[in-house]
Amino acid sequence: MATNVPAPRRRPFRWQRVATEAAQYLALTVAAAVILGPVYITVIYSLQPVEKIFSYPPQLYVTDPQWDSYKRAFETGSLGRYLINSFVVSLAITAGQVTTSVLAAYAFAFLRFPFRNLLFVVFLATLMVPWEVTIIPNYQTISTLGWLDSYQGLIVPFLATAFGTFLLRQAFLTVPRDLRDAAAMDGYGHIGFMLQVAVPLSRAAVGALAVFSFLMAWNQYLWPLLITNEDEHRTVQIGLKALVSANIDEFNLVMAGTVIAAAPILALLVLFQKQLIRGLTSGAIKG
């Protein structure tokens, strides 16, 4: 008879929940350690004299920070020039990607034209083609145009992005139909509606795309390496590599240079992390 006593059920239930949560936090902690560990070690090494870095057992905390290594890394690696180049290139790519994505996404979301859906699928298909596949033809194009060792060469191949178009199209599709109709009655043309209504309402997605584009552009290595031969247009990632080869014995300098190169990205991530997450998930949740 008493096979179904409800009372004892509660206890295991609560324990189960605590255990699940504990496991989740443990997993998150491990993940955080795995991801942050190298960052931490980089910072530590950058602040220690070379002898200490290679001492055994390694010292995993700093007793006497050597800030001087940052200054020297900056100077010997001429990171200033590289950083400026990186900023110019990354900002231009970001601006270009946001602009082209907004325009293309607007067309796919709001305009009616023949083969719209087919074209969109073709657009998406380009996401499946790895960048490395197109690198040779792109190199030939850029070289034919005489754009080797130039800002254009670094920027133009990255001005459009299927990912950004997709992201913004999904965001635009969540703009209610009534709002589009109201805008049509109110006298907004396409440009007005796009800039005054669609983009402001999708600012989370637009912001996320901007941050993503910047990250991607900043961290580029292969392409800038391929098409630049002089310092004048080299970006910081290439500069870093040069710093490594030239100062392999001064490991603290290399580490300091790495921190300098990564700092803008870290700052960006910290500043925009909420926006980034919201922008990438909003479309998914609102459908």
Binding site: D181, M185, D186, Y188
Partner: protein, 376 residues
């Protein structure tokens, strides 16, 4: 709302005629016929209500007038011009949406300003117009809020302000009251009517609520299944419905419609229905006979039936009390019934009683059972 009632209308309100006409208009969405061969003339300064059940094509008809949809065929005329090729923004018409469709990221002031800004009206003039609209609709304290910080009623007033501010020659409204609570709806209904009177503009108003239609309209256009059923002043649509759909859609509870057979009863005509024989008044008999068919649909509204030992026998199934009135549902036969409406103070029969019903002769409606059109 409309605080300055009676005040002279500001300049800019003298406008060309805003007669609106739909001529042979059809609108298909793929296989779906949303609007079917519409011919409708809306007079200048009229308050026309498009009334019909959900999905009948009311909104589509309104959107065709607005220019938000293109007709599959037919002509839309505003004033003296065919506007089929005129964009929505250039039709000089404003629309209020059921969802209000306010721009969520803009303040109330900016929302109201949008239609002025896109029309390149200078800043000074814009500010004056906004102030005036805000005063009219009691929005002054709310101008710097965002829509999310407003109640439903306040949002609705912002939507109205945005429509009024540019002084269009006609207003289109798609169920603008349906998101308000019952009390506010009654209040806003009256306010819209006085707004219509003061603005002296054409209003085209969509609703599925017959009470809204009856109370606000100068004329009602009843729509079913994409087709216009009847157009006329509320009272005449109520008194002389053109077909059984209109008869049963307008009025609550709906008109009783049963099958009957026309018979000659000596000099006069009568009609046999389940439960008995209803004599027809002299005005109705000959017209019915002229329809040259014996089977007919007989319609009598619940308020035009009474329990006074009349010729139609029925059995009381349910008595529903609504406080101010009672509905008595009576079985005429195993599968036909009639509803009788009684005032709360009238004596009601008890459930199970066998009663004799009388239909008020001047309120009997006859319909052709094949076409469902009115015969008389």
């Amino acid at each position: 709302m409309l605080k300055q009632r009676g005040a002279a209308l500001p300049d800019g309100w003298s406008k060309p005629m805003s007669r609106i006409e739909l001529r042979n208009v059809n609108k298909f969405f793929g296989d779906v016929v949303a609007v079917r061969d519409f011919n409708l003339e809306i007079e200048d300064k009229e308050f026309l209500v498009l009334l019909g059940p959900s999905g009948c094509g009311k909104s589509t008809a309104l959107r065709l007038i607005a220019g938000l949809e293109e007709p599959t065929s037919g002509e839309i005329i505003i004033g003296d011009d065919v506007v089929n090729d005129v964009e929505a923004k250039n039709r000089d018409i404003a629309m209020v949406f059921q969802s209000y469709a306010l721009y969520p990221h803009m303040t109330v002031r900016r929302n109201i300003e949008v239609p002025l800004k896109t029309r390149k009206i200078p800043k000074r003039e814009r500010d004056e117009l906004i102030a005036e609209a805000a005063r009219w609709l009691d929005l002054e304290p709310l101008l710097n809020r965002r829509p999310a910080e407003l109640s439903g009623g306040q949002r609705q007033r912002v939507a109205l302000a945005r429509a009024i501010v540019r002084r269009p020659r006609a207003f289109l409204m798609d169920e603008p009251l349906s998101n308000l609570d019952a009390k506010l709806r009654v209040k806003t209904r009256a306010e819209l009517v006085s707004m219509h009177r003061e603005l002296a503009r054409t209003f085209v108003y969509v609703t599925h609520d017959q009470v809204e239609a009856m109370t606000m309209a100068t004329r009602i256009a009843v729509i079913n299944d994409g087709a216009l059923q009847q157009v006329g002043p509320p009272q005449s649509v109520y008194e002389r419905p053109a077909n059984t759909f209109v008869a049963q859609f307008i009025g609550s509870p709906p008109m009783n419609v049963v099958r009957g057979t026309l018979v000659r009863d000596g000099e006069a005509f009568a009609i046999d229905v389940p439960g008995g024989r209803i004599p027809l008044p002299p005005s109705l008999g000959p017209t019915a006979a002229a329809a040259s068919r014996a089977d007919l649909l007989v319609g009598v509204r619940p308020e035009h039936l009474s329990f006074d030992g009349g010729p139609v026998r029925a059995q009381v199934r349910v008595v529903e009390s609504l406080g101010h009135e009672r509905h008595v549902i009576c079985d005429l036969s195993p599968d036909e019934f009639a509803i009788v409406r009684l005032a709360a103070d009238e004596p009601a029969p008890s459930v199970g009683d066998t009663v004799g019903l009388t239909a008020h002769p001047e309120h009997i409606h006859l319909f052709n059972p094949e076409t469902t059109e009115r015969v008389s």
